[in-house]
């Protein structure tokens, strides 16, 4: 937090902001194109890219002084994916018997 205060972070913030707005426009436009099964993939891919930008640069995880913050972020992601994976493993296999 203090080690990168020499150079102003403002250009970075504005670049991230522009990138987020461009991505929003792209995902809105892409939603009306028929990409078959890739529509959901493109929408979620762009959302994940935007979420990564916000987490890393707006929430300062990239420059976090504490490694523990990065650990919390990664374990949050892990447990959320675990929730989805185990639930889908259940509902996805109920018709097997």
């Amino acid at each position: 937090m203090s080690d990168h205060s020499k150079s102003s972070p403002l250009p970075k913030y504005f670049a991230v902001w522009i990138a987020l707005l461009v991505c929003t426009f792209l995902t809105y436009k892409a939603a009306y194109l028929d990409l078959g099964r890739f529509n959901a993939l493109v929408a979620l891919g762009i959302a994940t890219f935007k979420a990564t930008l916000v987490t890393l640069f707006f929430m300062h995880v990239w420059h976090a002084g504490e490694k523990l913050v990065k650990l919390v972020v990664i374990s949050t992601l892990f447990f959320f994916l675990l929730l989805l994976a185990l639930s889908m493993a259940d509902y996805g296999t109920r018709l097997w018997s």
Partner: protein, 246 residues
């Protein structure tokens, strides 16, 4: 018992040069922290752990959405197409702009720019209110169309996109709208709480409480606001966009 009290006092002696008063260190530094930086890191870590619980909180709803969406694909597509994607996209842009004003506020607090700090906080709150206003317009449309789950819910004769001659099952569509209202409603509640936090930050900033040494509340409040933005970044494609092409 006596063990812990002796170790406590020796720790206190290590962390703060005596006398143990407010004279020698920053007035906002609490006694159980070694220095301002450690206090700041602890607060930030605590906020991240709270956000982890929030992810799991919303995560259950996202999981429910995923399960029902896979089960009732066509009905969800029909229901999803009835909400206004342009309003949703506008709200996404509004929230992204508010995230920018939040990082500007955090930067202004760290670099002692009082006018920019107060201006950014006010702008963030105005954008938050604009978001809630647009959200309210969406909710009103849904009320007018009888798409709110409950006794007056009606979703008759709505064709399933991509399947000519098929009509959406109203009960399955009602599940979509229940998820829509719970997820966006919970998100909107977080926005209202965020507005409360930012009102308090604005008062503190007005009183000149934040300095380059002490601006943890701005940073922590900012993390909360960005998190609410993050949730919307996923709600927007999942609820509004996914079935537009059909």
């Amino acid at each position: 018992m006596s063990d812990s009290s002796t170790s406590n006092s020796s720790l206190a002696g290590l962390q703060h040069s005596e006398p143990l008063g407010h004279g020698k260190h920053h007035p906002e530094l609490l006694h159980h922290f070694a220095d301002v930086q450690q206090q700041r890191n602890s607060a930030s870590l605590g906020m991240w752990v709270f956000l982890a619980t929030e992810v799991m909180f919303f995560g259950g709803l996202f999981c429910a959405y995923l399960i029902y969406r896979l089960a009732y694909f066509g009905d969800f597509a029909a229901a999803s197409k009835s909400i206004d994607a342009t309003l949703g996209a506008t709200n996404t842009a509004v929230l992204i702009c508010s995230s920018l004003t939040v990082v500007l506020a955090v930067w202004a607090a760290e670099t002692a720019r009082r006018t920019l700090l107060i201006g950014s906080l006010i702008l963030t709150m105005l954008l938050g209110l604009a978001f809630l206003g647009i959200k309210g317009k969406e909710y009103k449309d849904k009320f007018d169309e009888h798409h709110v789950p409950g006794a007056s819910f009606s979703f008759e004769n709505v064709p399933v996109p991509g399947h000519p001659g098929q009509y959406a099952n109203p009960q399955h569509a009602e599940i979509f709208f229940a998820l829509y209202f719970v997820m966006t409603g919970l998100h909107a509640l977080h926005m209202v709480i965020g507005l409360g936090i930012f009102t308090w930050l604005l008062i503190m900033a007005w009183k000149g409480r934040f300095t380059p040494q002490y601006n943890t509340p701005v940073e922590i409040g900012g993390l909360y606001w960005h998190f609410v933005d993050l949730i919307w970044i996923y709600l927007f494609p999942l609820l509004y966009l996914i079935d537009r092409h059909l």
